[in-house]
């Protein structure tokens, strides 16, 4: 064995490029996402996301239906967070038709949306660790808590996942005092879960080694690429629509927006953990301040709503990022143009940038940290 290292390498050659398609059936693409990956050894030299495997024509169907009948379809956009999807859509319709919302409804909306945020983040962290190979334990714990929140959703709206709960001008049904008590009890118990979760993994060396410095996203690129939500804030950009637009009644609550400095997977993971804690703060305040009163504007026509011709863009801070609905009305009972701004999909724009030069295993956790739901990506 004589010769220098360079000679050795020239003997061995750089290795051929292997084209692998990860997905659409792959355990960690969170559904039917696909990445066309070019690998040199295990290093990623090219990555093209391919989607549309769950393109079920949400927009087309909504353009053919009445304004009301689009609400249950929004449940199925980001199927982990039906409440926030509902809110985003009804907010857009409220803007389009100029509908006011009673105060009690606003409070319940906040409670529902923050519970959704909590269970989404808990689930995401679980899935992310699942992608890291943690044989299901964190996911199990996350789902254990998620089930409790889903029980609340079920007793409020009748369904575990597809709540179909909000209406333009308010809500479908009122919550009972008993329900609010249950939320209060749960809110008091959830910090323990977050603590345990952090104990389980926050200081774990393997987790830190795998996530820190992986999938780094600079804040200039994050802004230019329209990345939103916890992912954007992990890159250090202070932009939370709850603070910027103060939609609903978010200006009444005292909460903080966590910001990351590195923009790597660890920061994104921690953003979720920290946001869970902030969410609990909002929940406590909302539960304290909830007034009595009607839950829906009695003047609003749910059936056969005909907004004046025009357009409106309403957006909310969904757990995944900026969820917007763009509606064009032509004065008829169904929207002329119905468009969803899917945060999951737009957050994927820079997936390749984050993954180039990294390992296959990093691709998986980088994708996991983006937090996509294919129902929303493909619509």
């Amino acid at each position: 064995m004589s010769g220098t290292l360079a000679e050795l390498e020239s003997i061995a050659g750089p290795g051929e490029i292997m084209e692998v398609s990860m997905g659409p059936h792959h355990p960690s693409t969170h559904g039917v996402f696909r990445m066309d990956v070019r690998l040199e050894g295990e290093k990623v030299v090219r990555l093209k996301p391919v989607f549309g495997y769950l393109h079920r024509n949400h927009e087309k169907i909504a353009e053919h239906g009445a304004y009301l009948s689009a609400i249950p379809y929004t449940d199925r956009l980001d199927y982990l967070c039906s409440m926030t999807n509902n809110w985003g859509y009804v907010l857009a319709v409220e803007k389009l038709a100029g509908i006011a919302v009673p105060e009690r409804a606003e409070y319940i909306r906040v409670i529902a949306a923050e519970l959704t945020r909590f269970q989404n983040h808990a689930g995401l962290v679980g899935f992310l660790l699942q992608d890291m190979g943690a044989s299901g334990t964190p996911l199990m714990y996350a789902f254990r808590e998620r089930e409790k929140i889903l029980d609340l959703f079920e007793s409020l709206s009748g369904a575990r996942m597809m709540c179909n709960y909000m209406r333009f001008g308010g809500l479908r049904v009122d919550c009972t005092t008993g329900w609010l008590d249950e939320v209060r009890q749960l809110t008091a118990r959830l910090p323990r879960f977050v603590d345990e979760f952090e104990n389980l993994l926050r200081g774990n060396e393997i987790l830190m080694a795998r996530t820190q410095g992986t999938g780094v996203l600079s804040h200039e690129l994050a802004i230019n690429a329209g990345v939103t939500g916890p992912m954007l804030r992990a890159s250090g950009v202070n932009y939370d629509i709850r603070k910027v637009d103060k939609y609903g009644i978010y200006d009444r609550f005292d909460f903080r927006v966590p910001l990351g400095d590195h923009g790597d997977v660890y920061d994104r993971y921690m953003m979720r953990i920290l946001e869970m804690r902030e969410t609990l703060k909002i929940l406590e305040q909302a539960l304290r301040g909830i007034p009595e009163g009607p839950i829906i504007d009695p003047k609003v026509r749910l059936r056969g709503l005909r907004p004046k011709a025009g357009e409106a863009y309403g957006r909310i801070e969904s757990p995944k990022g900026e969820l917007g609905f763009f509606l064009i009305s032509d004065g008829s009972t169904n929207p002329y143009r119905y468009r969803v701004r899917p945060p999951s999909m737009i957050n994927l724009t820079i997936l390749e940038d984050m993954c180039l030069g990294q390992n296959v295993a990093d691709v998986v956790i980088t994708l996991g940290s983006v937090d996509i739901v294919l129902g929303e990506v493909d619509r």
Binding site: L68, S69, E154, A159, N199, L201, E205
Partner: protein
């Protein structure tokens, strides 16, 4: 130091392992076929049609107005209006559905049909054990498979049913008052006693006269509310 976080994590799983033997909060499994999680009142799965009284055909509340068919987002409801009419619970002559099919293989359980129904005729059921290997026979439900009694409704959604019964009782009372007033006006010639009617018939007779039938239909809700 290297290894510290790992040990902390191991401790946490151990805690859950032992906790699962002693703490209910840590062993959340509901062993489904034997144990069941109590479904909340609001829980919904698929729609059913409500009927009053013992006879699903006669007591069916649906008047075949087809609002639900039109509003159903996935359009899984198929209604054909009857040619003839039958009286509803207040005695008004109404159409009834000759065909009322719901394709539960399409239904998205959104409850919009329930929301838009002005006649309290369609409600959401809680039954979910519906797996079948018969794709078409098992999942296309006709009027008879859909019809469930008001008693059943009271069982699965007690609060909602009570509210609904109260509302209908009020409507009926108003209608009766109106009818009584009209009757009083008309009865100068031939006086009758409407109060006797409910006790007499039981609502299954097809040839019964309109006021008699209305009485039969409303008798069920009223007695149940009293219980």
């Amino acid at each position: 130091m290297l290894g510290e976080g790992i040990i902390q994590g191991l401790f946490e799983t151990a805690r859950n392992f032992f906790g699962s033997y002693v703490e209910k909060d840590r062993l959340t499994t509901v062993q489904y076929p034997e144990e069941r999680h109590q479904l909340p009142e609001a829980s919904r799965n698929f729609p059913f049609l409500l009927y009053d009284g013992p006879d699903p055909d006669a007591g069916l509340r649906c008047v075949s107005c087809q609002i639900c068919e039109k509003e159903c987002p996935p359009r899984c409801i198929h209604i054909e209006k009857s040619k003839d009419k039958k009286p509803d619970f207040v005695g008004k002559q109404q159409f009834y559905p000759a065909v009322f099919n719901i394709d539960v293989s399409v239904c998205m359980s959104c409850q919009i049909c329930v929301e838009v129904c002005p006649f309290d005729a369609i409600r959401m059921d809680k039954v979910f054990e519906l797996s079948t290997s018969d794709r078409f026979g098992g999942l296309l439900w006709d009027k008879h498979e859909l019809s469930k009694s008001n008693e059943y409704y009271r069982q699965i959604h007690p609060m909602e049913a009570a509210e609904c019964d109260e509302r209908r009782a009020k409507e009926l009372a108003e209608a009766q008052a109106k009818a009584a007033a009209a009757a009083a006006k008309a009865a100068q010639a031939a006086p009758t006693s409407p109060a006797a009617a409910p006790a007499a018939t039981n609502g299954s007779g097809n040839g019964a006269s309109a006021p008699a039938k209305s009485g039969a239909a409303h008798s069920a809700p009223e007695t149940k509310v009293a219980q």
